[in-house]
Amino acid sequence: MTNTKKRNTLTPTEIGAETKVQGRIFGEEDLSILGHVLGNITILGTVDVADGGIVEADVEATKVVVSGVVVGNVTATEALIIESTGRVVGELSAPTLRIVQGAQYSGRLDVGRMETKATAEPKTDTKTETTHEEQTKSEDLPAPVPLAEARRDRDRPTKRVLVKKRA
């Protein structure tokens, strides 16, 4: 999960920077938000909250990438990424999670409890290594990971493991 796959549909949906939407947005294609959304978002596809975009809504999507601000619960069925400019307040739920250094996040995490456990857990494991705050939040993580697997994942050069968190 390195790059964001987006704009793969004929008419990419984009909420412009000067636009505010209040209500429900749902559909089956990627959605980029540069403006302001209040309400509820349910998308079968990628939701990209761009830098400058503000979402005050519960978000449910296949993949969620946050470079802007999200206040609300975020559920991703595939992956959730908070980029360095991203700020999130709310409960996060995703099989794999990446919080880039510089991102700000506050809330509860629910990571890797779906079928894709094997790939999700080592990531959570490496992350807790660098962040004592997040460690306390991962108490509901199930089953230990095989050591060799975790180590292999940890030794892989990666920049996605850091979480900088404001007190």
């Binding site: 004929l10 412009g16 000067e18 294609e29």
Partner: protein, 104 residues
Amino acid sequence: MATKTTIGTSITIDGTITSKDDIVVHGKMQGKLTTSRDVKIAKEGTLEADVDAKTVQIVGALRGGIQASGKAVIEPDGKMIGDIKAPRILIADGARFTGHIDMG
């Protein structure tokens, strides 16, 4: 700064859009749509909304009122049920329209 908002074909918005962008709707929308710029309801677009904009162009379908400060256009394939209030109005040959017109 002219940014743009696009609602894709599979997207439905239920609520209010307030904007200073150009808006193109390929999908569905219900509620109220307000912008200081232009609105285009594309061929597959379906709106059940009151539209308040500078110019409104309908290629798809609209059920609801239009209040345009500039111009309202219903293109040949466009359908509209509702009232139009605009200083300039164009209803193309082939377009369907039911409602009142006020060119005040």
